[in-house]
């Protein structure tokens, strides 16, 4: 017996275009996520075998010690939260700038860039996975800083809004990954990589209000700080510690952190694609 489906013309039996597109999109999404995850795991293993990637974890306790010593010496218990949070944010920034910025140049020096460009996947996805792993090492600096304050100085930092604090840390990590991606693109395209890496720390610590409140900066500088996710993160983390983050300002801060991170991620992916296109055009794929 012939089924009605078999009697139908071939074109009519085809899977609808929209459904096929949906299946292809899902397949495409699955391998993209899988690629990012495998790049993340690669970097995790590489970082475990490169002790220099954990240098920030040696530096963070010393930063906490210095900042807390200054705070306590000045009899400013209100600034303890800033002294404990700052090394964590600095850890994230150093990871983004120093280590994530090296991901692509290291592949170029080691001759791995050419086979990567020859592969049929966007290099940007590999870089995202790798910078995410590098940046997340910096998150551990928050925990270290808290422990140094508690065990070294007997100052247990109590977080009055733990839910907000976790949300703020998560948003800050995502924004750090996006920013690290942007920095990786900028540094890879730049001819002055070392100069950039050495000079981009303090401007962002200042504009991010990481070490001191933004109110001490000249008024004309302050609008610039709104473009730096660290400024929103620092304020939100301090507010979470003091229990003063609520409603509209909380939502605005979270949205600003995520939006700035997303914009940086998009910019970083665009720059990485541009890096590959320029290298193919100029014949510099094999250059270190």
């Amino acid at each position: 017996m012939t089924s009605s489906n078999e009697r139908r013309p071939l074109a009519a039996r085809r899977v609808p275009l929209a459904r096929r597109a949906s299946v292809m999109w899902r397949v495409s999404l699955v391998w993209r996520v899988s690629l990012v995850w495998r790049a993340f795991r690669l970097q995790t293993v590489l970082s475990r075998r490169s002790p220099s990637h954990a240098l920030i974890l040696l530096v963070a306790p010393m930063q906490t010690t210095s900042l807390l010593a200054l705070t306590l010496h000045a009899h400013r218990p209100d600034a303890v939260a800033s002294a404990v949070i700052a090394p964590g944010l600095i850890g994230l920034w150093v990871s983004s700038l120093d280590y994530a910025g090296r991901v692509v140049p290291e592949d170029q020096w080691a001759g791995r860039f050419t086979p990567m460009v020859a592969a049929p996947v966007p290099l940007a996805l590999v870089v995202v996975g790798r910078v995410a792993a590098v940046v997340l090492v910096g998150v551990l600096a928050f925990a270290e800083s808290w422990l140094v304050a508690a065990l070294g100085f007997g100052r247990v930092l109590t977080v009055r809004s733990p839910g907000v604090f976790v949300l703020a840390i998560a948003a800050t990590c995502l924004a750090s990954v996006g920013t690290a991606m942007l920095l990786a693109g900028v540094i890879s395209l730049s001819r002055a990589r070392d100069v950039l890496q050495n000079s981009l720390s303090y401007p962002f610590y200042m504009l991010g209000g990481v070490v001191f409140p933004l109110t001490v900066l000249p008024s004309w500088v302050r609008p610039l700080s709104h473009l730096v996710f660290l400024s929103w993160s620092a304020r939100l983390l301090r507010d979470a510690v003091h229990g003063t983050a609520h409603g509209g300002p909380l939502a605005l801060a979270l949205a600003a952190i995520l939006a700035l991170g997303a914009a940086a991620l998009a910019g970083g992916m665009w720059l990485t694609r541009r890096l590959v296109d320029a290298a193919r055009r100029d014949g510099t794929v094999g250059y270190a």
């Binding site: 690669l42 791995r112 592969a119």
Partner: protein, 323 residues
């Protein structure tokens, strides 16, 4: 059937300084059949690597077209990348602190292979290239030959139908190079096509079905490897070396060469390193020269035809260390 590789009027230039253009490939046209091992010979800076890079999509041509298995290398980059494997020679290009297996697992992800497939293929390829016992050792402990084999394994992970090998056996010891060549021949038997850029004439002679000579970006000639000697004409030659046990062997060989040059069937006598080549008028002349040499106690003599190396040297020219 569509050729494995078809390059037409392919040109690549670099701007070195203002109004100073370097031509790396100069309107090169080349076709490589499917299931062929094609050798690309030329001196340093001839354009071999430039061609390999364009065909593997890591470099854009300035003009002209190139297709791999029917796909344009500029317009259909993704399709070409899935079909070709790029194997670069040298010590670099791998994650030295990772094991061989972990390297392959990562590179497999770049070819959209799922974790299970890439694990199975990595194990099979490590076995095939003789690295199964060292699969869990960091690559930084590998010799150059082992790294080369790992490069080949990486190039084969996604089962490409066309492989571009750039100096794959440079620096390998003879045993490793022979094993590497045997592997290439096995892979060809599985239906793969190879473009082999090399300086090694013995390698090209042993492996390639056809070879192309390029210099200064221009294709000088393409022919079957077996026919290459004919490029220099159907010349008859006899090669001999001096007898090392004789007193003053070099001087004796020199005087033999002078005497040979006076024979009517000899057109020329030239020194090629530690041997001498006698060019004769015809096959009968070669026979007479061989007999003449044997009568004079020269026991290392043979009938010869121009080798690929001679064709290369005469076509490209002896330019010493200049590029």
């Amino acid at each position: 059937m569509e050729a494995a590789v078809a390059a037409s009027a392919l040109r690549r230039t670099y701007e070195r300084r203002r109004k100073d253009t370097v031509v790396a490939l100069d309107d090169l046209t080349l076709t490589i059949d499917r299931n062929e091992i094609h050798g690309l010979l030329g001196p340093n800076g001839a354009g071999k690597t430039t061609l390999v890079k364009i065909l593997s999509t890591v470099l854009l041509p300035t003009s002209g077209t190139a297709r791999v298995l029917g796909h344009d290398v500029v317009a259909e980059t993704g399709a070409v990348r899935s079909l070709v494997g790029l194997v670069l020679g040298g010590d670099r290009g791998l994650y030295d602190r990772l094991t061989a297996r972990r390297n392959l697992l990562f590179w497999g992800a770049l070819y959209k292979l799922d974790a299970r497939t890439v694990r199975l293929r990595a194990d099979a390829l490590l076995e095939r290239v003789g690295l199964a016992d060292r699969a869990d050792d960091p690559v930084e402990r590998f010799s150059r030959g082992m790294r080369q084999r790992l490069h080949l394994a990486r190039g084969l992970l996604h089962e490409p139908r066309v492989l571009f090998l750039d100096e794959p056996t440079s620096g390998l010891d003879p045993v490793a190079a022979t094993a590497f060549r045997r592997l290439v021949l096995d892979l060809r038997d599985e239906g793969r096509t190879f473009l082999l850029a090399t300086h090694d004439m013995d390698e090209a002679t042993a492996l390639c079905d056809r070879v192309s000579l390029i210099d200064r970006g221009r294709l000088l000639l393409t022919d079957d490897t077996a026919n290459m000697g004919r490029i220099l004409g159907d010349r008859e030659c006899v090669d001999f070396t001096h007898d090392d046990t004789a007193p003053e062997p070099t001087a004796r060989a020199g005087s033999l060469a002078e005497a040979l040059a006076l024979l009517p069937e000899v057109t020329d006598v030239e020194r090629l390193g530690d041997r001498w080549r006698v060019h004769t008028t015809d096959r009968a002349g070669s026979r007479r020269v061989l007999a003449w040499l044997i009568e004079r106690d020269v026991l290392t003599a043979r009938h010869a035809r121009p080798t690929l190396e001679e064709v290369y040297l005469r076509t490209v020219g002896d330019r010493g260390l200049r590029v």
